[in-house]
Symmetry: C2
Subunit: 156 residues, 2 copies
């Protein structure tokens, strides 16, 4: 993945968490993904596709983090357990973050459309990516816990 | 999902299994997806996207079935366990089947591009789809076991 592809995902993540969920998200150093396990307990996956590029983005939250992020997003008290509403919210956040990165990358003349998000529940699920291009992981910390985004976007 | 979207996925699945894996795949009656569990032990997911449509396709094999299908595909003896080569083959098959459906749907003037496939290992993993459109499941039987495809493709 080209270095210029990383920042749009990083910025979109910060923007969505801050504006939609009133949660400050601090990005840690981006790194290459080494294993295949999901980072967190709820994980969103979304495909990116056009005639020029192909890719996917993964957003994975630890349980405590997503329960509190969704509570801020919906302006409600935190739930005690994961439920369908929280899983759907991860799909929405995945869509919004990737939509933000899409808008920034379109300005750099890298255009693509978004596929339908899928959400996976469960810790340590093995997800491999079929790509010749490496996957970049950006860890984020918040006051309520940690999450990561993983992006793999390659020119055809 | 429109009825005219179903047959291209069904035909592409039969074609890919027969031509690439020398495996006859008999389609059972398509049905609406009701639960969120993966059908099999190895599951491929691929996104579809364009300015007009958005979607995803899932291909999920039970262990015995994919071990034998990959053995036919590679013209080797069946392995005793799932490994990275089999998981990668599920990514390839997901790509080829969705690519076949893409070509048929383009002829009906429904055009889209494919995202990067992801492959999930594990039985009964919960995968939800964030879409207003229902997901169609097509079960297939072969001499070596069962698999399903699940397609969700909607006009924007």
């Amino acid at each position: 993945m080209k270095a210029e592809f990383i920042n749009p995902f990083l910025q979109a993540t910060k923007n969505v968490l801050e504006t939609m969920c009133q949660t400050e998200a601090k990005a840690q150093k981006p790194q290459l993904k080494k294993d295949k396990k999901t980072f967190g307990d709820v994980t969103g996956i979304i495909g990116m596709a056009s005639e020029e590029v192909t890719g996917c983005m993964i957003l994975s939250f630890e349980k405590k983090c997503i329960i509190n992020v969704v509570a801020s997003m919906l302006m409600e008290d935190p739930k005690s357990e994961l439920d369908d509403e929280i899983v759907d919210a991860v799909g929405e956040l995945t869509n919004m973050i990737c939509g933000g990165a899409k808008a920034s990358l379109a300005k750099l003349d890298h255009k693509f459309d978004l596929a339908t998000p899928n959400m996976i529940t469960g810790q340590g699920v093995e997800i491999a990516t079929m790509s010749d291009s490496p996957t970049i992981v950006i860890p984020f910390t918040t006051k309520v816990g940690e999450f990561v985004i993983e992006a793999n976007l390659a020119e055809k």
